[in-house]
């Protein structure tokens, strides 16, 4: 569980067994705005970490730095013991191991749902077509959109598109999944179908970093809640602790605004 210090394995090339994603002393600026300030965060294998906080607190940026869609100014990020490489082949390989789900789905608009889920397998993993298609259809069934395989993204509802996006990420067999506000662009009645898929993933032991405003999901699926404000991690706790007894004033203020109305 979080908070418990982890005994490192023997020195050498073998990465520590439990720490999957380690951010240490990460800083980033957007011009004058110091959007990430001295961020230290360790995500263990199999852990579900939910990042919450007010708009502009840097939580999306934090999520995007983990697969280097945003670069950082200082500090270090390692995934499975390896530091994030610079732009190039090595980074592309690493990104293949890090699944990402976006707020705006970003399904490839000119490809069918099935092609969306097969593309990475074919072009990055070099899987043969038959295996890739089988896997894609299996994943689409798993997220409940198997019958939509031959449609184009624009023909699907938001919730369906987001579930396809999750299948597309899962098709790469990622070590960790990043969710950047996956339900924020959805109509209310579609939020649950996406959250259920995410809950199932969490139960299956996937390592997940989830930036969200869904407090219900944070309560039920998270091992740990990370509360960010003004570019800093203000508080880290189990969901029970955080929601019933937040320690910082900033978190109390945030929770009072979102929970009582």
């Amino acid at each position: 569980m979080s908070g418990v210090s982890v005994t490192k394995g023997p020195e050498g090339a073998v990465p520590a067994t439990t720490d999957l994603v380690v951010l240490s002393n990460v800083n980033k600026h957007f011009g004058a705005l110091h959007v990430l300030q001295d961020i230290d965060l360790t995500i263990e294998r199999g852990e579900v970490v939910v990042v919450i906080g007010p708009s502009g607190s840097g939580k999306s940026t934090l999520c995007r730095t983990i697969n280097r869609l945003e670069t950082i100014d200082s500090g270090s990020i390692t995934i499975d013991g390896r530091p994030l490489p610079d732009e190039g082949r090595a980074l592309a390989r690493l990104r293949a191991d890090v699944g990402m789900v976006f707020q705006s789905f970003n399904l490839f608009a000119h490809k069918t749902v099935l092609e969306n889920v097969m593309l990475g397998q074919l072009k990055v993993r070099r899987t043969d077509k038959k295996t890739a298609e089988e896997k894609a259809r299996g994943l689409l069934d798993r997220v409940g959109v198997g019958s939509q395989a031959d449609k184009y993204p624009a023909q699907l509802s938001g919730g369906q598109q987001q579930r396809v996006a999750i299948a597309r990420a899962l098709a790469m067999n990622p070590k960790v999944m990043l969710f950047d506000e996956p339900t924020s662009a959805l109509d209310p009645e579609m939020i649950n179908e996406v959250l259920e898929v995410m809950q199932q993933l969490a139960r299956d032991g996937m390592t997940m970093v989830v930036v969200t405003h869904e407090m219900g999901f944070a309560r039920s699926a998270a091992n740990r809640v990370v509360f960010m404000a003004d570019g800093r991690i203000v508080e880290e706790a189990t969901p029970e602790e955080f929601f019933s007894n937040p320690r910082s004033e900033r978190a109390k203020d945030f929770l009072s605004k979102i929970l009582h109305h």
Partner: protein, 221 residues
Amino acid sequence: MFDFLEGYDLLGAFWVTLQLTLLSALFSLVWGTVLAGMRVGPVPLMRGFATAYVNIVRNTPLTVIIVFTALGLADVYGVTLGAGDFDSQYFRLAVFGLSAYTAAFVCEALRSGINTVPLGQAEAARAIGLSFTQVLTLIVLPQAFRSVVGPLANVLIALTKNTTVAAAIGVAEAALLMKEMIENEAQLVLIAAVFAFGFVVLTMPTGLLLGWVGKRVAVKR
């Protein structure tokens, strides 16, 4: 009424025009796409080169470029582009000049198409581990092309008409034949009308067909 056409190879001349158009369209499409890739790419040297190329070439009169291919490339530097005789050498030089010129416009049309592809498409492609070249060729360019079929049709129509400049270096296409007929025959207005009609026959279907294609392949978002 059309007696004056006798003794002239009108179809042959337009056939050369068509060949100039199709070959130049092909080469300029390829070269223009490469230039567009360079302009949006991560390598500063390539970006600089492509930007300089586009700005120099599209701002130079086509006549200057075509005449340069003949007087400069052919006569000064002895470039033959693998041709055995003068006719095919100058034809190839004309294709070279037209392609080099048109590529600048293809590049800019395509670049505006690239700008219509939402940033998230490229981000999602990078996030599943595709390389820059794969992101460009598998995700961004296919969508960009679909959104610029209309503008590319304009470029192609302009190219068809621009092939007349090849007459300046003696390529036996439609405009050269027109010049010859105007010197020898009396029906000046009719001659002009015949050639104008010939070009409309070539370009009108291009516009209509590509307009239809553009609607068919448009990416729905």
